[in-house]
Assembly symmetry: C3
Homo-oligomer: 440 residues x 3
Amino acid sequence: MPMGAEDDAARAKRMRSRMELLYPICRSITGDGVRQTLDVIGESLRPGLELRRRAVPSGTAAYDWTVNDEWNVRDAWIADPTGRRVVDFQEHNLHLVSYSVPVRARMSMDELRPHLHTLPEHPDWIPYRTTYYQRTWGFCLAQRQLEAMGEGPFDVVVDTTLRPGELTYGELVIPGESAEEVLFTSHVCHPSLANDNLSGIVVALEVARAVAALPWRRFSYRFVFAPGTIGSITWLSRNRPLLDRIRHGLVLTGLGGPGPLVYKRTRRGDRTIDRAATHVVSRRGGEVRDYSPYGYDERQFNAIGFDLPVGRLSRTPHGEFPEYHTSADDLDFVKDGELLDAHAALMRIVEILENDAAYLNLSPHGEPQLGKRGLYPTTGGKSASDAVMAMLWTLGYSDGCATLLDIADRADLDFAQVCSAATDLAGAGLLERASEPPRR
Amino acid sequence: MPMGAEDDAARAKRMRSRMELLYPICRSITGDGVRQTLDVIGESLRPGLELRRRAVPSGTAAYDWTVNDEWNVRDAWIADPTGRRVVDFQEHNLHLVSYSVPVRARMSMDELRPHLHTLPEHPDWIPYRTTYYQRTWGFCLAQRQLEAMGEGPFDVVVDTTLRPGELTYGELVIPGESAEEVLFTSHVCHPSLANDNLSGIVVALEVARAVAALPWRRFSYRFVFAPGTIGSITWLSRNRPLLDRIRHGLVLTGLGGPGPLVYKRTRRGDRTIDRAATHVVSRRGGEVRDYSPYGYDERQFNAIGFDLPVGRLSRTPHGEFPEYHTSADDLDFVKDGELLDAHAALMRIVEILENDAAYLNLSPHGEPQLGKRGLYPTTGGKSASDAVMAMLWTLGYSDGCATLLDIADRADLDFAQVCSAATDLAGAGLLERASEPPRR
Amino acid sequence: MPMGAEDDAARAKRMRSRMELLYPICRSITGDGVRQTLDVIGESLRPGLELRRRAVPSGTAAYDWTVNDEWNVRDAWIADPTGRRVVDFQEHNLHLVSYSVPVRARMSMDELRPHLHTLPEHPDWIPYRTTYYQRTWGFCLAQRQLEAMGEGPFDVVVDTTLRPGELTYGELVIPGESAEEVLFTSHVCHPSLANDNLSGIVVALEVARAVAALPWRRFSYRFVFAPGTIGSITWLSRNRPLLDRIRHGLVLTGLGGPGPLVYKRTRRGDRTIDRAATHVVSRRGGEVRDYSPYGYDERQFNAIGFDLPVGRLSRTPHGEFPEYHTSADDLDFVKDGELLDAHAALMRIVEILENDAAYLNLSPHGEPQLGKRGLYPTTGGKSASDAVMAMLWTLGYSDGCATLLDIADRADLDFAQVCSAATDLAGAGLLERASEPPRR
């Protein structure tokens, strides 16, 4: 399966320019920022692909949750007695705690202080804080800013609106031969944080592009761009009949930061996506971890009531790098090489999902004579090549039950090598396709 | 479940004073010493608890064994030609080989020597030896004593009786809601050895005290104080109908010596007691070992014909510390801190046996909104606390099959944390108790 | 079971003298060399044992393969312009590529060079090459020889015949109580290579000698001496009804070279032969490896269509020692001590195959009183001996399902110790044989 020989430089450039468009937008779990984000996503699709946007009214029930009022910001600042804005939302989205309620007041530092959030251990960084479900307000600022603010009194303005509106998400579907689906999701609720999660968004878009370019697809592919938690729960609540068709899924986030790839298993831990991602990630030097019920939207997809086979791909996960949820997670923090590597790994995973199957050795009585079919070196006495070894493993284990991925794992060979050996052997009449891997 | 906030100092004092009462008694597998030991045990129980004493006549068959004649000692010594007692049972119980037959003779060193046992590598220690099933006699002494004895001739007196009597053991039962039982056993046949097994006896008594103080008990608890091997086999032979009701059990011995806690698994190795004890002991830095058919009475309970779920808790096991079966295993060898730690570990094990159960997540479609129930921090963006994590794990895996212990092990959390999370979640209507763990 | 106290020195001498007879013979997969090899093998058997020789005509189909034409060599050389033979088959069998077609020509170095094979990294060694299935010719020589050859022109003579004949193999069967068989195979196609595989041949002969000397055999034993690949496939094709009777098997090769014993598992990896060989090899400090579909004839026996329980015993395997398939694999490369050690290990494996069985503890209610049967030390208080421990393990796990090998592995004891304990316990009426291990 040719997996796209597209130029990495062009891909990196597309991802970078999309991140630059998305970075300045003030996103939260609802509001204009989400719609603008979906605009950018929609406009970056190839002709023929369409992002379908969904709007769910505030107050709509979604299982144990209710869609929030919509939040939008016009402006927000803190001004000192001279009228100078010492903290200014216009300078950085993170300065305003997400979902802050409107305020217009003059207050002393003593009154203001409980509403200010800093990171004393990183005095130049602005933290990221939210207050989705408690109606209060606050500002986030660098510790150095705080120390230079003086005693006030301060004019505090939070010019936001918080009223019935909608929660918005977008979906892109690329149909395949089967109605069964592979699901990729990326959260679109974090403002001005590049690794978390512009990286996930732009890698997902490149996977969509490459998948759409495949000459044939076993599965249909669905890419969901939704706010975290309430967005994915709302999506789940509105797509019950679809859920049975999801065969494999991945949450994509934090793919451009430092560290090797980290695959987080599904809750059950033994789904096909777990095996495919483990094969790819571990062979690229990455790390595989067990599920835990904390993190991103995988916790919703894996909840007992859904139990979907959705893992998560990232690099160093949330909370394990100091820049996490701070202004230091900016466009420089995300590297093109890391994004490209994540994309390549995802396409290897897609390759497995598309091509894994069990085969039957049609010449099972001893090793077939590969030489007379031109598949074996003619001078004996030397060691076998990788290609010959891949054929021998494939013949040796293709009993109609073991799949190519089983064989690749056992042989410690790349899936692609075993897949290629199977193609050659089937071409020589020595192997025939038996069945798809069991649904898992 | 409140597990007793009793004062450790008071507990240590009780254990120490009981050991001081028990240490001088000359115990063996039968005789006055066993009865005196059971007297001390019975007198140390709280009002309302009663030690029931059982007497089994010599000659009674117990499977492949027969209850021995009863053995008692009036006196025993070796005197040198001047009449001075160079080895004197009055000075230390260990000087006389247990079950020595009566002797009254004058003999040379050459005649006497085959009856003398020393430890050349520990020249000041007296070894412990027995001859339950061969009618002979002997003395144990320090190597230095032997070297100072001279050539004799010696007057040798073993003033013992060995005649039909009884084997004695004691039982304490604390009833619970169910007739199913948790069994704790400690051997009471070793004379003047503190770790082996006064430590097991006094820790068992404190566990009984704490269990009796519980406001409610799922299980009934049985504490058996019996001589080793013949005592436990006799007990088994006389309690066949009871055996089916034993759900969990532990042999308690060697709990006051050096080293971390060591749990020895049951023969099958996968019983509930194995999982509970492994959870507790490994989280306290202790060690877990597989079963072997050598050791204390666990070898009887685990014999194929009984196959009871009885593990063993000790510290450094028999034979692995030099003081084992010598006079150096004295009251100083046993430390209060080690006894208290063993008691605490046992109460954690009891806590698991009493409280482990499977629960059902009543809000399984995605993560329930803990915040609106006051169970989640209201300012988002920071990491989750241990208490929140315990709730997320409990919700994430409570499918009606996984028990709290399963979840605690998977999450690498203390059982108590998960148990507390389950209580909070059940209180909030998010969880309901599904079933007890399978009988195992 | 006494396993032969025959003198190791005599055994080593027999193996050495057979290797000296076999080494000079020019063997290939067919031809006079194979027949001469089978002559030597047949003549070295004890009276009463007979090597049955089988001849299969060229052109006979064997599954996906066809028996080759028979190949024989009269002479082969390369002579320089002075008539001096610079490469001479008379000096070393390896000089001629096996299955070279006849040639008689004068040619320049440029024309000759593509037919010459050397090992530049080992300039004094002659490599071993074959061309069984492509009709060409070649010479193998030391790099230094090549460098000294000059520019020619050369007279090249390959005086071989390649025409319809037969493929020959030999079989030795030693009957036992059951018609079920243990199979040992060694390939007999390699010329003048000592470790690969004179070592396998002579060790197999000594195993046959020792097995024939056993007073009783549970199984029948079959030793097959056949050319590699085409030989074993031909044997398999002509013995279909027999295959169901093969309970255990081993390919023997490379047993006299350096390194510890290496057992290569069957394809399934959990057959009885895998457990028996793992027990023996790992307790002797050897190594156990998973199956891979590359190596010697185990790849034919384990092919999906046969799926026979045939592992492989060697030392450092093919391709992992530099002397492999070169003239440096000569009689000095093979050491007597290694051959004897391999033979001893094989007889331990035979001991397990012959004697493993499940037993039933007839006194399962607690530990039986070994002392009254003279099986236990009478003075208590000390640690148990190995012999006592073997009895306790055997009693503790003999539930009619666990076999002696299961128990030995669990107890980390030698099978022989557990087997001896079972004999003693059965003699005391405490144990009875329950069943043979499951067919696996």
